[in-house]
């Protein structure tokens, strides 16, 4: 998982999976970066091959980029599309 900053946007790339195995790591690294200067977080989901309920929980209040069909289906199933912005 790589983090980069572009102006006021924090971008997360290179996520292979987001699950119980790494959701704590994801939270610990991404959450502290969200502040007044970087209110927007974008997660590039094009590389996410696996996500589970813990991984979904870690995504609260984050913008998702290029979700794969599975990620999109699960996001919609648990009504996260109401609070998450999905960018194709």
């Amino acid at each position: 998982m790589n983090l980069s900053l572009h102006e006021n946007v924090l971008e997360v790339h290179g996520l292979d999976c987001l699950s119980a195995t790494n959701s704590a790591d994801f939270r610990n690294r991404v959450r502290p970066m969200i502040d007044a200067q970087h209110p927007i977080v974008q997660v590039d989901c094009s590389t996410v091959r696996f996500i589970d309920s813990e991984g979904l929980g870690a995504l609260v209040s984050i913008r998702l980029l290029h979700p794969t069909p599975l990620v999109r289906k699960l996001i919609e199933l648990i009504h996260f599309d109401q609070i998450l912005e999905l960018t194709p």
Partner: protein, 593 residues
């Protein structure tokens, strides 16, 4: 992390894979990936593969989350079976487990946890969670996606036919091994709703369950109707011993009262031993087992405890599931049996009321004797099936006529019986008919002991018709006054004073009143059901209004039969649609002109 071990086993009709993973998130994830690779060979779609991998992870993670201590961190076992049309996943863990909710809802959208069960439910066609003390099995099934493509070749069809054939014989073999449980299930379901003797039924059920679940003993208790006690219905085998009832509010610390109070399965084993005072210790020592409380419509029905003498053999998840299923049958039978008892009791009560009504009817005179120049007409209407009102018209051989009206306190069989006793007592004293005061005194003395013993009393009024002198001789024991309309005065008023009701005071005197009843005059004997009739607004008719109504009717100089009918109509008109609250009885007496 324990590396997952894979022991793929091939059956003829289906493919099966068993994987074991250590009880941590990474091992679960690795096992799910291994399973996915294996599943990929089964021609599943990419979507199916992704969702099955997720299901395995979610179920496995649930086990990891509930493994609270090191002893619970035994390997998680994944059994995956791929059939022609369905995929089954069984995940066995050895954690304390959790309560699978009846309804699985999504948490608040901002919540970061609590979506795993929802995903499991959404991505499967069937999800079941079998829970026992040291082993939980999650069973998931989902139908396979239909892949539209080239029609299968003849060889492929032949192969599938052979597989199906083989599947059938394998399934038959499996069924035979469950034969005992199945036969018992069918037998008990056939008995549902039938009238059964509960003790016999539970005897058979417990014996069968002991055998099927390999238990050593069982204790069945039912909650008392007030829900305060657990009464022992059955202990199997009966050689084990007997058990006294348990007070649910009491301080005896037992698995049965705990299960009843919490409505949860309570387990016991050497690690979580029974309390010393637990009745099961005295019965079967300190083995292992569980106590299950069963309810119907949220009402506790009872508890059943199953145990083994051996300390190291807890019941498996499948056995516990089986016990629950059978105990559900028992709960239904207990409720059925109780409903049946209540119905029988209601039938007995109805029959008793019928008997009382028959008694009451038999007390009333079938025909009214003539006593010129007086004529009379009577009404006796019960508010309920059986009331406490009765009247009598007794004529002796010499033409002496006595009118009796009475209201026995209470209703039903006791009131009817006392009315019968009163009637016989009066009839046995014809020599006193012309002295109603003395007659009441004698009746009171005769009946006082019987009435006071059951705390009952009777109000009654007696009227002796004296045709020779054109007058009435009356006396009252706490009854409504005799109303008399005199034509000369064109006014209705009460005649005479009253003494205590019968059964209140042993040696009481009853004043006797002589009232002239000249031609055209009318008298009325009635019970308080008439004067206390209420209208829709809840207002009482009252003695005053009743006297006015009597004046109105008497003034028209009608025959007694007509006068009776008019009086009934006026009282009914006053009541309107208000229900009749009490019996209404009266005797309309007139001196024919």
């Amino acid at each position: 992390m324990n590396p997952p071990s894979s022991n793929p086993t091939r059956f003829n009709y289906r493919s099966q894979l068993r994987l074991e993973a250590g009880c941590d998130y990474s091992a679960v994830r690795t096992a799910a990936q291994t399973a996915r690779q294996w599943l990929a060979e089964k021609k599943l779609t990419e979507n199916e593969l992704a969702e099955l991998e997720l299901l395995l992870v979610e179920v496995g993670n649930n086990a990891v989350k509930h493994a609270t201590t090191e002893t619970h961190k035994q390997n998680i076992v994944f059994d995956i079976t791929v059939g022609e049309f369905e995929i089954e996943i069984q995940v066995t863990d050895h954690t304390p487990g959790f309560d699978w909710p009846e309804q699985i809802d999504l948490p608040d959208v901002e919540s970061e946890h609590g979506r795993g069960l929802f995903l499991i439910q959404s991505l499967t066609d069937h999800a079941n969670y079998l829970r026992s003390r040291r082993e939980n099995v999650t069973v998931l099934r989902r139908r396979r996606a239909t892949v539209i493509g080239q029609p299968p070749s003849v060889e492929e069809l032949k192969r599938r036919l052979a597989e199906a054939d083989s599947a059938l014989s394998d399934m038959t073999a499996e069924l035979s091994s469950s034969y005992e449980s199945l036969v018992a299930l069918f037998r008990y379901s056939a008995e549902l709703g039938k009238h059964i003797e509960l003790r016999d039924f539970s005897n058979r059920l417990l014996r069968d369950l002991i055998q099927i679940a390999e238990a050593d003993y069982a204790v069945l208790r039912l909650a008392s109707p007030d829900g305060r006690r657990l009464e022992t219905l059955n202990v199997q085998p009966d050689t084990v011993g007997a058990l006294p009832a348990l007070n649910l509010a009491g301080d005896i610390n037992s698995v049965e009262t705990e299960a009843a109070r919490t409505r949860q399965d309570i387990w016991f084993s050497p690690e979580e031993p029974l309390a010393k005072a637990d009745p099961i210790v005295a019965l079967a020592g300190n083995g292992c087992g569980l106590c299950h409380a069963f309810s119907f419509a949220d009402q506790l029905v009872g508890t059943v405890a199953f145990g083994r003498f051996a300390t190291d053999k807890p019941f498996s998840a499948a056995q516990v599931n089986l016990l629950h299923t059978f105990i559900d049958f028992l709960a239904i039978q207990v409720v059925n049996s109780r409903l049946l008892d209540e119905r029988t009791a209601a039938r007995v009560t109805r029959r008793e009321l019928q008997i009382a009504a028959d008694i009451q009817r038999s007390l009333l005179p079938a025909t009214l004797p003539a006593c010129p120049p007086f004529e009379f007409a009577t009404v006796c209407q019960s508010a309920l099936q059986v009331g406490g009102d009765f009247f009598d018209v007794i004529q002796t051989a010499d033409g002496t006529t006595l009118l009796v009206i009475a209201d026995v306190m209470g209703k039903g069989v006791p009131a009817a019986l006392f009315a019968a006793v009163l009637r016989s007592t009066i009839r046995s004293m014809p020599q006193l008919f012309s002295q109603p005061g003395a007659l009441l005194e004698a009746i009171n003395q005769t009946l006082f002991d019987d009435l006071s013993r059951v705390d009952m009393f009777v109000t009654t009024a007696l009227v002796y018709l004296d045709p020779q002198h054109g007058r009435l001789v009356s006396a009252s024991a706490g009854h409504c006054p005799l109303l008399v309309w005199q034509p000369k005065a064109d006014a209705t008023g009460p005649a005479g004073n009253s003494g205590f009701p019968l059964g209140i005071e042993n040696h009481t005197k009853y004043p006797q009143t002589v009232t002239p009843l000249p031609p055209g005059a009318v008298a009325l004997l009635y019970t308080d059901g008439i004067s206390e009739a209420r209208n829709e607004a809840g207002e009482l008719l009252g003695d005053h209004n009743l006297a006015d109504i009597l004046s109105d009717i008497a003034r028209t100089n009608q025959r007694a039969q007509t006068g009776k009918k008019l009086l009934q109509e006026r009282v009914a008109a006053f009541s309107g649609k208000a229900a009749m609250a009490d019996d209404q009885t009266f005797i309309y007496i007139r001196h024919v002109q």
